[in-house]
């Protein structure tokens, strides 16, 4: 029969790890989205040539492995003697990583609003801000939200890499238990199920919104 030495305490330890994963994700996605919206709007407003430096920097965040970014971020903060905790470093790096992808999504969303609609708003006497607030934001959200949900889930999964900086999140917690109990398959399965249970319903919601909100063509 199947039996295991896994105790309730160990499960609580895994739950703590999951809480850490969620905390890192929540902080990074919030900060990354704010930055991403800022960068996205900036890139649209500045146009291709003037925003080229910003586009390049953001592109670097998308073309270099996250693991390398985390190590570099950690090395930089210790060179600059900032004395950040691993949690802070992880969140800063993940936020910038999120912002790079988010600005791309925002840019796509704004680009999907027909220029004529925006010009009509401006001809009616709306200011740039009013145009952004009442015309662009609602229309762009429809296009961007499903992709943004995908990004959030992506960051949640990628946040597993912060274990390299010594943060005990879900995957690292399971690894510690594997080392102690020597039951890799069972514990990793639990870990996978936890990830799946967090991710799958939200992924389904994203898919639903994408179908529901897609233009009727």
């Amino acid at each position: 029969m199947f039996d295991t030495t896994l105790t309730w305490n160990d499960l609580a330890f895994l739950a703590q790890g999951a809480a850490m994963t969620l905390a890192v994700t929540a902080v990074s996605v919030t900060a990354g989205t704010v930055l991403g919206i800022l960068f996205g709007v900036l890139r649209v407003q500045l146009g291709g040539i003037w925003s080229a430096p910003l586009t390049f920097v953001l592109d670097v965040f998308r073309s270099v492995p996250l693991l390398i970014q985390l190590v570099l971020g950690n090395a930089l903060q210790s060179i600059a003697k900032l004395g950040w905790a691993p949690f802070t470093t992880s969140c800063v790096v993940l936020s910038l990583y999120t912002a790079a992808y988010c600005s791309e999504i925002i840019r796509g969303g704004i680009g999907a609003v027909p220029a004529t609609t925006r010009r009509a708003a401006r001809s009616l006497g709306m200011t740039w801000w009013q145009d952004m607030r009442y015309i662009v934001a609602p229309l762009a959200t429809r296009v961007s939200l499903p992709a943004w949900i995908g990004l959030t889930l992506g960051v949640m999964k990628d946040s597993a890499l912060v274990l390299w900086l010594g943060l005990i999140e879900l995957l690292r917690a399971s690894q510690i238990l594997v080392t102690r109990l020597q039951e890799p398959l069972f514990i990793l399965l639990i870990c996978g199920v936890i990830y799946f249970v967090i991710s799958f319903p939200i992924a389904r919601l994203g898919g639903y919104l994408e179908r529901r909100w897609s233009p009727n063509d």
Partner: protein, 221 residues
């Protein structure tokens, strides 16, 4: 101010070693992509087969691959399989993990691409006397691959970035692994990893460029 002296010389001296690692990285990414494509085509065929067991298997694969971290999948291949007495080398575990991940995402890409091809085309092929397999292979597949080409390119870049995860299971011949070894020997973390980042960036850009050229050549019409 920064009380730190950069020693770029050490990193630059190790450049040939790191470029050797970059070749291994590219090799793993390419292999995992070939495996992933083969698996994804099989899974797509399962989905279209109409058998509930086969399409259920394909759906499970896709959802697990897309809803768990890539690092978890690599851990599963490396530590999880140990339960059955299968002890894979870091290289094989990494390759299996990434191929599993690629297959899941590519199958989903194919599903999206299939939607872009009207059913009527396959039906027209069938009325011309083609067998279902012929209709799929000669009519649907070429168009599907064309639509799925760009997302597949993105997946290739992802595969390159994912290879860096190998270092967490003890891989020491790819770019990230070699960088980590050099770092462990000299503690010049920033210099070595900055150089690695530059190499990764260049590889990613070259692959994107190559894919664009191939696409321009293949999809001229």
């Amino acid at each position: 101010m920064l009380n730190y002296t950069f020693h770029w010389n050490q990193a630059l001296k190790a450049l040939p070693q790191m470029l050797d690692g970059a070749v291994v990285t590219l090799q793993i990414a390419l292999l995992s992509m070939v495996l992933g494509l083969a698996l994804a085509l099989t899974l797509t065929a399962f989905r279209l087969s109409g058998s509930r067991i086969l399409s259920g298997f394909a759906t499970t694969w896709v959802e697990v691959a897309r809803n768990t971290p890539a690092l978890f999948q690599i851990y599963m291949a490396h530590f999880g399989l140990g339960n059955f007495g299968i002890h894979l080398s870091p290289y094989t575990a990494l390759l299996i993990g990434i191929a599993f991940n690629n297959a899941g995402y590519l199958t989903e890409n194919f599903r999206g691409a299939l939607k872009a091809i009207p059913d009527t085309q396959a039906r027209a092929g069938r009325s011309l006397g083609m067998t279902p397999i012929q209709a799929f292979r000669l009519i649907v597949l070429p168009q599907m691959l064309r639509v799925a080409f760009l997302p597949a390119t993105n997946q290739m870049v992802w595969a390159i970035l994912m290879t860096s995860l190998g270092v967490t299971v003890g891989m020491n011949t790819d770019l990230a692994g070699i960088t980590q070894e050099l770092n462990a020997r000299s503690f010049r973390t920033f210099e070595f990893f900055a150089l690695a980042a530059v190499i990764y960036y260049i590889i990613a850009k070259l692959v994107t460029l190559a894919a664009r050229l191939v696409a321009a050549r293949m999809f001229r019409y």
